[in-house]
Amino acid sequence: MAASLNGGSKVAGIVARAQALFDDLSFTTAREWKAASPERKVIGYMPIYVPRELIHAAGMLPLGVVGGGDSLEVIHGDAYYQSYICRIPRSTIELGVSGRLDFVDGMLFPSICDVIRNLSGMWKMMFPHVYVRYFDVPQNYKDEIGGNYYIQELVELKEALAELRGKPITDDELRHSIAVYNENRRLVRDLYAFRAQKPWQTPASEIYLLMRAGLVLPVEEHTVMLRDYLAAVAVEERPRRDNCRVVLTGVFCEQPPLNLIKSLELAGCYVVDDDLQLVTRWLTSDCPVEGDPLRNLALAFLHHSESTAAKYEPDLAEKGQHLVRAVKRTNAEGVIFACPSFCDPALLDRPMLQHVLKAANIPFIAFKYAENSGQMQPIREQAGTFADSIKLWSAA
């Protein structure tokens, strides 16, 4: 779609490549990367965050697995879950049992919710030849308490990956990987900042596809893609519409269909910030390269990482302020809560965040979706009405 809109431009070419990666549920690029050398291994991970630097330092490819989207027919996966459980675990199981992940040597299941947590145990049983780890992170943010715990968790993961590759991971390898990911995160931040300034130049659907590409490509290749896109999109003229500016939140785990993101823009909303693919910018500033790399990663997690529903906020006054700051930073005019059905973290957090927004006089709307939602008309109508009402208020 984006490619056809932009004809044969450089932007269109980059977006077409990202779209092809997005559409490929067999992960051909990652398979080809692995096939290029017999010692190569691929480690899958689910939302929200894993320290990809460790996987990279082991010479392995981190592969983001975020469900099957709306084009995967779930046949086996539904047999593992009751109707009242979200869709991402069932489509992820589908990817597994259908052989689409048969080249993956390990899977990491981060601490995000009880469903993903329990999926880690299921994966252990269903795919016993695969290295499986539930990746826990601290909910205590003091260096000597949560920090020490987390460092030891990183040590365990590092040792397990070293065992998989057959030799230890050195500190220098880790430092190099931290530098590589720092560069990638800087470009992601640049891209988000550019979009906040000129959202008409960078449609949300394109940014989304670029971030999704970051889940399957080697990071170095993704960095080049981001740099090329930023350079190309800055010089391409695109029509500026009379859209309102919104922050999209709640979409950090099960993915909304691409059509949903497009529908928001078609309904008159420029998405100027979001919590999609948080792993690509989880650390909010550069992680120091010098010194003890695991300690640096741990401290970055404790003190310089994104706020989201899966993290405990120890300070009541700070609860939800990340959203208010996002609105101010991006000059947004409202917030759209889009939460997956049956998503405990997003749906339990939502009322608290809405209270904070209300106190800050920031308008919002809310709806639910599933990764395979097909009907966009109700969402388009709701978002359109929201956009219209914002414009009316702004004019008053």
Binding site: A79, Y80, Y81, Q82, Y84, I85, P89, F109, S111, I112, C113, D114, V115, R117, N118, L119, S120, G121, M122, K124, M125, M126, R133, Y134, F135, D136, P138, Q139, N140, K142, E144, I145, G146, N148, Y149, Q152, E153, E156, A309, A310, Y312, E313, P314, L316, K319, C339, S341, F342, C343, D344, P345, L347, L348, D349, R350, P351, M352, Q354, H355, K368
Partner: protein
């Protein structure tokens, strides 16, 4: 003019209770009175959760232990939770999320009246024992927003690899020493005394020993107890505000004697309709019960002669039957180990092992899963659990669905049909086995 025909109301049916149940109810009622009287007595209140309930530690600070899950259960049993859940949904909580949370929030919105008809106290501190359930974290963030009181996070790492590592213990002990205890001292004004904690822990061990004897009495045929429906009464004091007290020691000693007497007489469990009669089916049950129709649900079992001989739900507050005991010699480490080991903090393979072992050890006819709509901690993965336990034991398994305290998700006819089909399946298995022998 219309004629109104009225029928005389039938006298309420007498519900049978054994003496231990009467005693347990008195204990629980006394605790609710202590809570609702706290504004007058000046006692401070600590809200916390059943899994990871550090009652011995809480008592060291003269705090009263208030468990929101238990309040939601009480609301469910009294048929009040439906209105509370609706109230919470009216004020913006999703229909998809945990109904314990919504019952609690709705109860607050409607005046926070406890089971004794008096207003429940506002907590002085929220001890967020984040153990085995992600929702707990959000629940206490929601309560903190309401009460704006001190909130203490105690993060229990999940046993993803099925083992407790030294790193986990150190992390938890450090949280206890540097976060939990100093904050509880500050809120309560009571200095922490580790010897006082040791004394409470010694008392816990005595009660834990007797609880295990009671739970394992179900290995006898016929089983003298129902380890799910009856078991919920048995675990009440241990999982609630009594572990570490003389009251708990007395209760479990009394209960054990009562159960041993039933074994000696060859009796089965006491049900609300009296003695159960002939034991026809022995089941292991996974998952919490439904509380809005608790007796109706139980009746579907005992009417068929089905007794639950072991259940996972009665292990959410500790796996004493697997050998865990609080250790007074290592008071903080033992609290950490306790939190880490509770059933919902165990990974899926461990849960499967436990259920399959129960079926073998208790000579059960099969596994029944009551899958709870709003409890992902229990429910996600249960279909795999069912298939795996069936495969390992060769015993049939069945699956029913309901909810904790939301009456909209209890369909009596559906559950009854499923259970009847299941019992037929057990009969067929037996017939098949007999024919093959």
């Amino acid at each position: 003019m219309s004629t109104v025909i009225t029928t005389p109301k039938a006298a309420p049916k007498q519900v049978s209770k054994d003496d231990s149940m009467v005693k347990q109810k008195e204990m629980m009622a006394g605790h609710f009175d202590r809570l609702t009287d706290s504004p007058q007595t000046g006692k401070k209140v600590c809200n916390t959760f059943v899994p990871g309930n550090l009652n011995e530690l809480i008592m060291c600070f003269d705090l009263l232990n208030n468990l929101p899950e238990v309040n939601a259960i009480q609301s469910g049993l009294r048929r009040q939770s439906g209105a509370y859940v609706l109230e919470a949904e009216k004020i913006g909580h999703s229909e998809d999320v945990c109904t314990y949370v919504k019952s609690d929030i709705g109860m607050m919105a409607k005046g926070n009246i406890g089971p004794n008809g008096k207003r429940m106290p506002d907590p002085d501190v929220l001890l967020l024992s984040y153990t085995g359930c992600f929702t707990f974290m959000k629940w206490f963030e929601l309560l903190r927003e309401q009460y704006k009181c001190e909130t203490i996070m105690l993060h229990t790492p999940y046993m993803g690899d099925g083992k407790i590592t030294p790193n986990m213990i150190q992390y938890m002990v450090k949280q206890l020493k540097e976060e939990v205890i100093p904050k509880l001292e500050r809120v309560s004004g009571v200095k922490f005394d580790i010897d006082r904690l040791r004394e409470y822990l010694k008392k816990s061990v005595k009660a834990e020993d007797d609880l295990v004897k009671v739970l394992q009495s179900a290995k006898t045929k016929p089983s003298p107890i129902d380890a799910y429906f009856g078991g919920i009464y048995y675990i009440g004091p241990m999982f609630g505000a009594f572990r570490g007290t003389q009251d708990a020691i007395d209760y479990y000693s009394f209960l054990r004697a009562e159960v041993e007497e039933r074994i000696a007489k060859g009796l089965g469990p006491v049900t609300p309709d009296g003695d159960m009669g002939k034991e026809k089916y022995r089941l292991v049950v996974e998952g919490p019960p439904n509380y809005t129709n608790f007796r109706q649900f139980w009746k579907m079992f005992y009417d068929e002669g089905a007794v639950v001989v072991a259940s996972s739900y009665t292990k959410v507050g500790g796996v004493y039957d697997l050998g865990f005991r609080h250790d007074p010699d290592n008071p903080l480490e033992t609290l950490a180990e306790y939190c880490l080991g509770v059933y919902t903090n165990r990974n899926l393979p461990q849960r499967i092992d436990m259920l399959a072992n129960y079926i073998n050890e208790y000579e059960a006819d099969g596994l029944l899963i009551n899958s709870i709509k709003s409890c992902n901690s229990f429910s996600a993965g249960q279909l795999l659990i069912m298939r795996e336990v069936e495969k390992r034991t060769g015993k049939p398994a069945a699956f029913v669905e309901s909810d904790l305290v939301d009456p909209r998700y209890f369909s009596a006819a559906n559950i009854k049909n499923r259970l009847e089909s299941y019992f037929q399946m057990v009969e067929q298995k037996r017939a098949g086995a007999a024919a093959a022998a």
